[in-house]
Symmetry: C2
Subunit: 213 residues, 2 copies
C-alpha cells in the first residue's frame, strides 16, 4: 500500500514525486451501504456477480478501490451498484473518481485490457431511478469554478435536473444516466486539468419523503 | 436552496460572486448509514437526541448539512454519530467539512451562538474504537501537497496510525480522537488557504476481518 495519493507521508511523497505520475490511470474508491441487516450477503453477492477482470482491485474494511482505464473502472463501479440493488432495500454508494494526483505512480493498476466493457451486457437492461449528489475538485488551479459551472451545464443538457445545495449539486435520473454522466464528467475533466477528484453519493429506495421535510 | 457552493449554475455563480463570501461559516454535509433494517429509528433517534441549537440545519433524502461556527458544527456532527452508535450495529458516516467556497455567501447559517458546545457533556464519556478515511482538498493553490503532508504529520503525532491508501489516508482510534483531529485539520487549514474541503468516512463495528482479505 505504498503507491497512493491523498495525505501521504513525507518520505512517500518524495519517492512518488521522483517516480513521476502515470496519467493513464483512473481510480475510483467507493463504499456500498445497504441499510439492511442482510448487508453482508448483498455486498458479497454483488462482488461475486461483478466482473472485475478489466481493473485492478483492492478492498479493506472501509472501502474498495478500482484502478485502470476510465471506461472499465466506470463499468465495474456501475455494475457493482446495479448488481447490489434490490427493489425493497434502501442503499447508498459513496465514492470518488480521481485522476492525475501528483502522488500517484504507475503500478497497482490494469491498463492492458481492450474491447467491450465486461459488465455492459449484463447490466444494461436493468433500470431504476436514483438520486445523486456530487462535488467536483479541479486541483492546482485558480479557475476551478469555471469547470464546475460547465459540468452543471452538462447535467442540465442531459435533463438530470441539477440542483445546487451547500457544498454539492444534486441530480436525479435513471441509474445508467447518472453513472454515464459521472464518467463523462471525468472525461471532460481530463481535458481541462491535470488532477481532479469527483466525489459522488448515489441513493436508491430512500424512505424519506422530501415533501414532508 | 440558492446560497450554495459546489457545481453551481452560472446565474447563481454570478450572483454569489457579487455578494461576496462569509469567511466565518464552517459547513459539514454528511450522511449516516446504519447497516441494519432498523436504520430509520436509529437515525431518527439520534437526530432527536442531538442538540442542534448552535447550528443551522437542513436535510434532504441524501444528506444533512450543518452550518455555523466550526466548534459547534464539529460538536453536532460528532454527537449525531455517537448518539446513533449501537454496540452491535455496523454503521458508517460519510461527510465533508468545507470552508471558504467562493460561491458561498452569508446566510443559512448560525453565527451568534457563544459558550460551551451543547453536546459536549452528553457524549464526552462515550468511547468506542473507529476506523476513518479522509481526503483533503486545498483549493486554488499549486502547493496543496504541502498541506496534505502536514496534516498526515498531525495524525502521526496524535498516534492515529495514518496509512496511505489510494486517494485517501486511513486513521484509527477512539471516536473522540478521530472527530477532534478532523476539527483540528479544519482549524489548521483555515490558516493555510481561503477554501478547503475535508472529506471523511467513519466506520464502526465492521464485520470485515482485514487479516483475512
Amino acid at each position: 500500500m505504498e503507491h497512493n495519493c491523498n495525505l501521504k507521508e513525507s518520505s512517500e511523497l518524495t519517492k512518488t514525486f521522483t517516480c513521476g505520475t502515470n496519467k493513464e490511470i483512473t481510480g475510483c474508491r467507493f463504499s456500498l451501504y445497504p441499510m439492511n441487516s442482510d448487508f453482508v450477503s448483498i455486498i458479497l453477492g454483488s462482488l461475486k456477480k461483478t466482473d472485475t477482470s478489466a481493473v485492478w482491485c483492492d478492498s479493506d474494511a472501509l472501502s474498495t478501490v478500482y484502478r485502470g482505464k476510465r471506461k472499465y473502472v466506470a463499468d465495474a463501479v456501475k455494475a457493482l451498484f446495479i448488481n447490489a440493488w434490490r427493489r425493497d432495500v434502501h442503499m447508498a454508494m459513496e465514492g470518488h473518481f480521481s485522476k492525475g494526483c501528483p502522488g500517484d505512480i504507475a503500478g497497482e493498476s490494469k491498463l492492458d485490457f481492450e474491447g467491450e466493457a465486461p459488465n455492459k451486457a449484463v447490466v444494461e437492461d436493468v433500470n431504476f431511478p436514483a438520486l445523486c449528489k456530487l462535488s467536483l475538485y479541479p486541483m492546482g488551479t485558480g479557475n476551478y469554478m469555471e469547470d464546475i459551472k460547465e459540468v452543471v451545464q452538462m447535467a442540465k443538457v442531459r435533463e438530470l435536473n441539477p440542483q445546487s445545495i451547500h457544498y454539492a449539486t444534486r441530480i436525479s435520473g435513471d441509474i445508467h444516466a447518472i453513472f454515464d454522466y459521472l464518467e463523462d464528467v471525468c472525461k471532460y475533466m481530463e481535458e481541462s486539468v491535470s488532477h481532479f477528484i469527483l466525489h459522488f453519493t448515489i441513493s436508491v429506495n430512500s424512505p424519506t419523503n422530501e415533501e414532508e421535510i
